[in-house]
Amino acid sequence: MRSRFFYILFVFVLSMVGCHQTHVRSASHLGKEKVEKEKVEGSVYFRFDRWTLTPEQVDLLAQKAAFLKANKESTIILEGHTDYVGSSEYNLQLGDRRARQIKLELFKQGINPGRLVVMSYGKDRPLSQSHSAEARQNERRVDFKMK
């Protein structure tokens, strides 16, 4: 009987002491844990000289937004790119508009804009040196990079 009492008391004291853990944040807020990047990373493509989104693209962004809501610590860099047509300055602005449009759509979906970084490379970082219509289409995009 006495040994049972001591056992219960011991468990009680241990559990009480265990409750008092100094709240130390794990390094997970810096993204140490692996997250499913592929659900967010990828690209959204645009028509020539355009930055508006199609309904299908809005749906796609809704899926990304749902994932971002579940992973509140991550930051996304939105990199705007363009094809080679036009001046550097114009294309830098066009890339910026495209990335900003995505940021706006994600903001509408409830994502904190502080987690969305807009960046434009304009035509400075082409995927290929080809001037074909297909290659140019691939350049007109916004890339998502998860941090």
Binding site: L9, I77, D96, L104, V118
Partner: protein
């Protein structure tokens, strides 16, 4: 997180640059892609720096800093003088904060009526403003929220449309969202609206909302921002910034704003300096959300080129506990002295009883003592030697 180099007149340029790169890669090895790589940092810094520098100069206000400092040191008349001057200036970025601290000062001086007017003005400019009960004395928090409840809730609605879409909308220095945007419950009176986007000239307008306008309904504000990037090819050679750009006092404000634009929660500033013929690494960790700095660290850096790996690990070991702990949980331990006033404030930040270690020590001691007493009593009873007879 982002690791940036910081240069001042004592900095050794090449050593600072190389060691910062090394440290950045070490952090990436431990924390993964949450730490921006050198390439990413360079691109983003050159993309955002111009806008941030402009912003940093607008935000910094000596009067607000002086007023706050005086308030926290209980030099209430000095605080009142500085803050009264500040709110008269109607500076958009500091006005709300100015009225709040002025209200706190008047409340501490037992001038409750004036404090109420100050709080009312702060709430007119920013109806969503709150006082964090963890950092302020309960009396003043209660008073502030009573004023907020009495404040007229209704107001006009403002629609903001901007080109480019997705520009940031700031009303009275408070971020409201991205354009196109509808701001509702907008109180009558004077307000300033700023629409900004990186690489565009800001759009700024002061509006005066009358009761009549508020009754009519929506006010529509349309803004077309002009592109402002003269040299798109220009790349920064410093992956960070120098004291010449921001001044010694602007380091934390600038780092916080840059960190915010870069989507980082923390900014680590690194500088290798020459002091009395010896090389020293100085590091300073800045919390972006709280716009404040951890206590800075220094490390002896003799033969830095050969010992860069060893020194980088030393810095990492020192930084890790700071990165893994929320700054606000123990401000006395972590916050740099000159920024403590913003967090600790007058009066003590009272922890609940169950969060205090001594409470658990006492409870454990009491439980253990009770156990011992019960054991003695039980032991005695079982052997039947207790000489007490109940009759």
């Amino acid at each position: 997180m982002v690791v940036l180099e910081y240069r001042n007149k004592n900095s050794r340029v090449s050593e600072t640059s190389h060691f910062t790169d090394r440290l950045r890669e070490e952090f990436r090895r431990r924390y993964g892609s949450a730490v921006l790589s050198t390439d990413e940092t360079q691109n983003l810094v050159s993309y955002y720096k111009e806008g941030v520098l402009k912003d940093g100069k607008e935000v910094s206000s000596e009067l607000l800093e002086e007023g706050k400092k005086a308030y926290f040191q209980l030099q209430l008349s000095d605080a009142e003088e500085n803050l009264s001057k500040l709110v008269k200036q109607e500076s958009e970025m500091t006005q709300v904060e100015g009225y709040v601290v002025l209200g706190l000062t008047h409340f501490a001086q037992n001038k409750q009526k004036i404090a109420e007017e100050d709080f009312r003005e702060a709430l007119r400019l920013d109806p969503a403003r709150t006082l964090d009960p963890r950092f302020f004395p309960p009396k003043v928090v209660k008073f502030f929220h009573q004023v907020q409840e009495r404040q007229k809730k209704s107001g006009s609605t403002i629609r903001v449309e901007a080109d480019p879409q997705g520009s940031e909308v700031w009303v009275n220095g408070v971020f409201k969202g991205l354009a196109p945007l509808v701001v509702s419950n907008f109180p009558t009176g004077r307000h300033s609206v700023r629409i900004r986007a990186n690489h565009y000239y800001d759009f700024f307008k002061k509006i005066n909302l009358s009761e009549e306008q508020a009754e009519k309904g929506d006010v529509i504000l349309r803004a077309k921002l002009s592109w402002n990037l003269k040299n798109p090819q220009k790349k920064e050679n410093v992956i960070g910034f120098s004291s010449d750009e921001v001044g010694e006092d602007g380091i934390v404000s600038f780092s916080s704003t840059l960190g915010r634009d870069l989507g980082a929660s923390k900014v680590l500033l690194v500088s290798v300096e020459s002091e009395q013929g010896k090389q020293v690494i100085h590091t300073q960790l800045v919390d972006v959300k709280l716009k404040t700095s951890y206590k800075p660290d220094s490390f002896g850096a003799e033969n830095i080129e050969e010992r860069s790996a060893e020194l980088a690990s030393q810095v990492m070991e020192k930084m890790s506990p700071k990165l893994d702990t929320a700054l606000e949980e123990n401000p006395e331990k972590y916050v740099a002295n000159r920024y403590q006033g913003d967090i600790v404030l007058i009066g003590h930040h009272r922890k609940p009883l169950y969060k205090r270690p001594f409470f658990w020590v006492l409870l454990a001691a009491a439980a253990a003592g009770g156990g011992v007493a019960a054991a003695l009593a039980g032991g005695a009873a079982s052997t039947g030697t207790l000489g007490v007879v109940f009759q």
